[in-house]
Amino acid sequence: MMKKVFTRPKALTDKPFHYCPGCTHGIIHRLVAEVIDELGVADNTVGVCPVGCSVFAYNYFNVDMFQASHGRAPAVATGIKRSLPDRVVFTYQGDGDLASIGTAEIIHAAARSEKFTTIFVNNAVYGMTGGQMAPTTLLGQKTTTTPKGRDKEQAGFPVKVAEMLSTLDGAAYVARVSVHNPTHVNKAKKAIKKAFEVQISGQGFALVEVLSTCPTNWGMPPNEALKWLEENMIPYYPLGIYKEPAEVK
């Protein structure tokens, strides 16, 4: 018997993504939707999308959604979760959104151990606004605001979000994954699922940092971008689980 082994998750609407060809935002969207499907929580979930290329995510997820102001998704999610503690709440944020303008909001949501899940898409650049430096831009990486490559004297060092948040007692689950090949896509999905489960079981704040590509602003074809991610981002941003709740609790 022929059986569908891979099909569009139900937690995605049927709207086509507006992302550039090969942009891994699309993969990450799908993984989140698959996890929502697998956990069977679509009807009970509220998502928060940021300002960034994923600003239109409210068109794609088939759940109730908020569009939040730039960087403030964690505050918005806090407001939602404190209002509706039995709902599943997630935010989806880019690296400019989360690690630059929204630094205070993510850190304090984590410190308070707000019971929501954050999908943090680190593509080392500001995608939406035209390829400016992000806090996560690598040293030497060229962007429209570091035309000669990021220079530590001038623009400082990339911020390691997973490591930083792991210092907070309130952060229950923190992992960094990548989506540069199918194996890692699978791992990424596992981490995302775990991050939702940690929320649902009330264990506290959970964040998954997903290394992602921006072929357009990196100025390379999509497959080259995946390779660049693997060769340049992973060494600086080691993958792994940075924090995990003790199993018995």
Binding site: M1, M2, K3, K4, V5, F6, T7, R8, L12, P16, F17, Y19, C20, P21, G22, C23, T24, H25, G26, I27, R30, N181, P182, V185, N186, P215, P221, P222, N223, L226
Partner: protein, 72 residues
Amino acid sequence: MARVTFREERCKGCELCIAVCPEKIIVLAEHINAMGFHPATVVEQEKCKGCAMCARMCPDVVIEVEREVAEA
């Protein structure tokens, strides 16, 4: 036996599926879709193992995969 189906009109021709297919059976079509991209397509369907690597990498959820499974 397995089958992959592409929702051509949604394909952006990014080639991520092409790169990961272990059977190397996906190519970009000659023609252009409504969005202006050469869509990916499978050339030797019969070689498909239904591994879904392509689908897993496709950022635009273009691909559906079916596979023969033992009746449970």
